[in-house]
Amino acid sequence: MSEQAQFTIRVDQNKYLPVGGTEVHAIVTVEATGPLETVAQHAQAAEVIIIDTSTSMATERIGEARKAAMAAIDTLRDGVHFAIIAGTTKATMVYPHRKEMATMNAETRQAAKQAVSGLIADGGTAIGTWLRLAADLFEPYQGAIRHAILLTDGHNQHESAAQLDNALAYCQGKFVCDCRGVGTGWEVAELRKIASTLLGTVQDIPDAKDLEADFRAMAQQAMGKALADVALRIWTPQTAKIKFVKQVSPTIEDLTHRRVESGPQSGDYPTGAWGREVREYHVCIEVTPGGIGQEMRAGWVKLVQPDTGMQLAAGNILATWTDDPAQSTQINPRVAHYTGQAELANLIQEGLQAHREHDFATATARLGRARQIAEESGNEATAKLLDRVLDVDRATGTVRLKPIDRAAEIALDVGSVRTVRTRRDPDQG
């Protein structure tokens, strides 16, 4: 096949370490290019839409959720395998009625929308059960782009945390799940855990009226994915240790504990499905120091599809020891930028936690510092979210906490992991 997605890996780092230096940092930029839309058109795809139909949805929310589901159904192209699940304390097939996927065509599209229009809100919330059903539906479609949309408005009150964890363990690797919380009655930490494990995103939708546009966008994005089950494979020297592997753009996601051993001195970090996009990773490796002038491959980063054995791109993370401080003390601008973005996210998380514990002094200090980093690094979206909870006196620099409403807290919590790419590419000058 001549039309294939192309991937590039670029490594930004200062490879020079001082004598005895052991810590190697690099930003690995992975970009998918080439005729991705054409490849995506021909890719096999499976989509499951999970709608929370617990009693709390029984306001205007269920109506908006119906419209949103229909918009997503309209966006899926013909030939896509799909199913709609309604979630309460149990998971119910909305369309098709049997526990299987339907194939999209004019007829099934109409029938599915018909079924969705009859959704009513009545019951509890057991998200693990919903996800398990989705995992089973995806089972026959290994190799396809497998994507789910999960909508909820409350926390997982009819399941224990352990039950949810077990369900997540069951589902991990079986599909990618983007999670949406509508209103203010849901738990950010809970949805984040689900989205993280299932390699998806979390987004707060405070106003149910915005669901329709959001679902359409999610379905569009799912239809744009060209390649499923891609992983970052990292080889390291025998005596080296990976300190962390973090996705740092578009959002911060620690992948360190996701490692799956893939060979001698080599591990895979799953990244899910790829469309036309750029993602960046901060890799930190601890190596045994070498002699002055010696060069070491501290990490060999590859983008692979483990199931097919296909290697899509590769790059080297290097280390060279020098006694010239002018070389070893330079911090690569991209490494510095994303280190700052990670600190920003941490400060917000710590600030929000302190606020929950009514430690307002700590909350003010952390969020105030976060506000400063957000501005300095050009992360305007996060700065805006911080302004919803902070009053900053421009003249004196004094920071005060505003009375924090739940919607602002959720928005800040969800937004804290979003980063900006460096404003100015250091290579472009």
């Binding site: 025998q238 060979g263 001698p264 045994t288 002038g293 491959r297």
Partner: protein, 331 residues
């Protein structure tokens, strides 16, 4: 023969080219750093990740021409990330027979230590087929502040050695041959430049040693020494101002290059030592050098290794290259 995988220690079956377990090529080169990993196509060890020394990080040459063994050793040193020195060592069959000692030429400063001249040439000896061997050795030090200095030095060393061998074989007078060889090297190095402002540069020194003469040519601060007990002497005069500031080099930005050439007929056996400043910055004194390698004529490779080792021991701040060419005269 069954091979043990250097990476995972699995024993392969006879005829297998790759390890069943981990895919490592069997019988691959083992890593110079950890001694246990296989080196991959990119030059990195599959176990410890260390990039393997390239040919130029440490190289040695040794061969025998007629009855004379000659040797050279070049090393990256301990502080530089690559070896910008280059060396070439070759020999040529030259027409036999006594030739007049060429007159000293411009560039030679009176009063510089020179082995006593004016002694009668040694008696001619019959050489097979009417030919004798001349040894040609060249050391070039790439100028670190120029672009691609490693390329400049290698180009100059190869070009100068080749040209010198060719002209000596053709029967040309060694002084004229050295002038022409240096000019050829200068042209080749100038040709590497993308622009005069980005001109690769290097400092060459050549030695042509035939059974009657030692002929040295140089531009810059790479040196040649005559080692012969108390008669040891420095043969070159650096093109350098205060603080080792180079005043001459080969490169597109060097203007017209006028090499220094000197030739003499030793009155007894000795050793011609050709080296880069990586050695002489630590050991400039001819007597000290001669003392360090008293058996250089008998085992030139050991002597070259010893001298390079001394430079590394002393700090190895620069690349270091040493050629050892014994002069035996006609026996």
């Amino acid at each position: 023969m069954a091979a043990i995988c250097p990476v995972c220690s699995l024993e392969g079956l006879p005829g297998e080219r790759f390890c069943e377990e981990c895919g490592t090529p069997l019988g691959a080169t083992l890593c110079a750093a950890c001694g246990a990993g296989a080196v991959d196509a990119d030059g990195y060890c599959g176990r410890c990740g260390v990039r393997q020394p390239t040919g130029r990080d440490h190289s040695e040459i040794e061969f025998t021409a007629g009855a004379v063994r000659v040797a050279g050793v070049s090393d990256r040193g301990l502080r530089h990330s690559r070896n910008e020195d280059a060396m070439a060592l070759t020999c040529a069959a030259v027409p036999a027979g006594p030739r007049a000692v060429p007159a000293p030429v411009a560039g030679w400063a009176a009063g510089d230590a020179l082995p006593p001249a004016g002694h009668p040439p040694m008696p001619p000896a019959a050489a097979p087929d009417g030919a004798e061997n001349a040894i040609i050795g060249v050391v070039c030090d790439g100028v670190s502040t120029s672009p691609r200095p490693d390329e400049a030095s290698q180009t100059a060393a190869d070009t100068a050695a080749g040209a010198l061998a060719e002209r000596l074989a053709a029967g040309l007078d060694p002084v004229a041959a050295t002038h022409q060889a240096t000019a050829a090297a200068a042209g080749a190095v100038a040709g590497l430049a993308d622009a005069p402002s980005a001109a690769p540069a290097c400092t060459p020194v050549s030695a042509g040693v035939d059974p009657a003469h030692v002929t040295i040519g140089w531009v810059g601060d790479s040196r040649a020494y005559w080692l012969s007990g108390p008669g040891s002497a420095l043969l070159t005069l650096d093109d350098a101002g205060p603080g080792h500031m180079l005043t001459a080099w080969l490169g597109a930005d060097a203007g017209e290059v006028v090499p220094h050439v000197r030739s003499f007929a030793p009155d007894g056996p000795g050793v011609v030592l050709v080296c880069s400043d990586g050695l002489w910055n630590y050991y400039p004194d001819p007597l000290a050098l001669a003392d360090a390698v008293p058996d250089a004529a008998a085992d030139p490779l050991a002597a070259a290794r010893t001298l390079v080792g001394m430079a590394l021991q002393a700090g190895g701040r620069d690349n270091v290259t040493v050629l050892v060419i014994p002069f035996t005269g006609r026996r």
